[in-house]
Amino acid sequence: MRTVIPVENGDALAAARGFLRQLLEAGVVEALLVPMETPSGTITPALVTDPDLLAAANPFAPVMGLNAARVVGHVSVREPRGKIGAVLRSCELRALVELVKLRQASLDDLVTIGVDCLGTYDVPVYVELHGQGQVDMAAYLATAQSGDLSPVEGYAFRDACEMCEKPQVENADIALELFGADLGAGIPITLSDELAEQLGFAPQEGDGRRAEVVEKVVAARTQVRDERFGDIRQRLDEEGIEGVFAACVRCHNCMTVCPICYCKTCLFKSPVFDHEPAQYMNWARRKGATRLPADTMLFHLTRLNHMVLSCIGCGMCTSACPTNLPVGRVFRAIGQQVQAVFEYVPGRDVEEPLPLVTFREDEWMEVGEE
């Protein structure tokens, strides 16, 4: 059912908080995983059971310090637990779908509350803006109506957000549909009839501009994406991945923050890559020199092989890179090609099997027969 959360005094954030509170109080969920404003001004996801504490919830906060799908896994993957609601932006919802396929999260007894994403800052940028009192939620939310998404002047959204062509929520149990809406008047939402009844909502149509605005945002973002993909592909062609990632220090941050990289211990931190000193000497002799830490490109290429089909483009890897490598651009640009080969769209559907654990006998019949 489509309906609208009423907004008073033009304060959409307050209305959203009220809605979340309602979810807890009506017993729709027993706890809510939601971005919370900490007393120090930063934002972190928290699992909230006390409705009063939701006064600090900020489901629209324009900052992304981690992909919350990871922590949805923490609270959902095993029984027993109660019914939980999780507030997630679109890239987090997509990551969640992949994590469900990888059994690192579960949709059982989970209510996903999706929020259209208007763009996010890296944590240091947000902290700086917050410190200067420049985080104006009303102004930020106002951009949803026209789709002219813009950061505070002089600042930029995260690279991944600037080229995110899927900012709108799909496949959430409850969708907060910000695009095209006058959020000062009300927040359009879509939810099941059952839930709507439980919460006392009656059907109400918004002004219907969402599709149009989404199309506009997607078009603009797609253009940026294609330009950046073009740039990075040219660099990869010319310099190779070893050139683009030349400054890598193999800190594994990209892997640590990646919502898809779910391994408990990365293969590259395992004894398999714990070489004898004589081995390093041997490599140094073989090519005259050998980069240290060793196996740096092998790490990136192996990681690509392990996760790129599921890469949903949240760009946390870029945000986390201490040497500002365009990890996300590289992975997304490559991911786009590989996903196309398998006609796989990560995050689309939990029923869609992961491409590398399935096969058809009659596919690619020409491969191997030359």
Binding site: R291, L356, V367
Partner: protein
């Protein structure tokens, strides 16, 4: 060039088909270039992407993965899984700036000694034509 370039090929062969096919090439005394060095695995489906990536980064000129023809896998479906995995791998390295043509996946049965020898010959010639893997010179990988 002082010396003629001779490519180095690492081959991962499944125990039941291609490795046995290579044995048959041997017992049939079918000659092929000595550029290939074989590692025996149980199934093409056990070829990990890292096994292919590691030699490529180290400067090997070509990697051959050999398995049973579709429908003939000793383990029922390992070759089908290998097919997808190698297709993904090749697409990834191609887009990462590598020459994916250095990686060959071939179905060669236990009775195809001739085909094994021909494959090695073709691959050697192909790589001679292509020249050395640039990674031979690159230490910063």
């Amino acid at each position: 060039m002082a010396e003629k370039f001779e490519p180095k090929i690492v081959a991962f062969l499944c125990n039941w088909c291609t490795y046995t096919g290579a044995d048959l090439a041997g017992t049939s005394r079918i000659q092929y270039p000595p550029n290939v060095r074989i590692i025996r695995l149980m199934c093409s489906g056990s070829v990990d992407p890292t096994y292919v990536l590691k030699p490529l980064l180290d400067g090997v000129d070509g990697v051959l993965v050999g398995g049973c023809h579709p429908g003939d896998c000793h383990y029922q479906s390992g070759n089908y899984k290998a097919r997808r995995r190698i297709i993904a791998l090749k697409e990834i390295i191609k887009n990462a700036g590598f020459d994916e043509e250095r990686v060959w996946l071939r179905w060669i049965s236990a009775s195809e000694g001739q085909r094994f020898a021909e494959t090695v010959t073709k691959m050697t010639e192909f790589l001679r034509e292509k020249g050395p893997n640039p990674m031979r010179q690159k230490w910063a990988v």
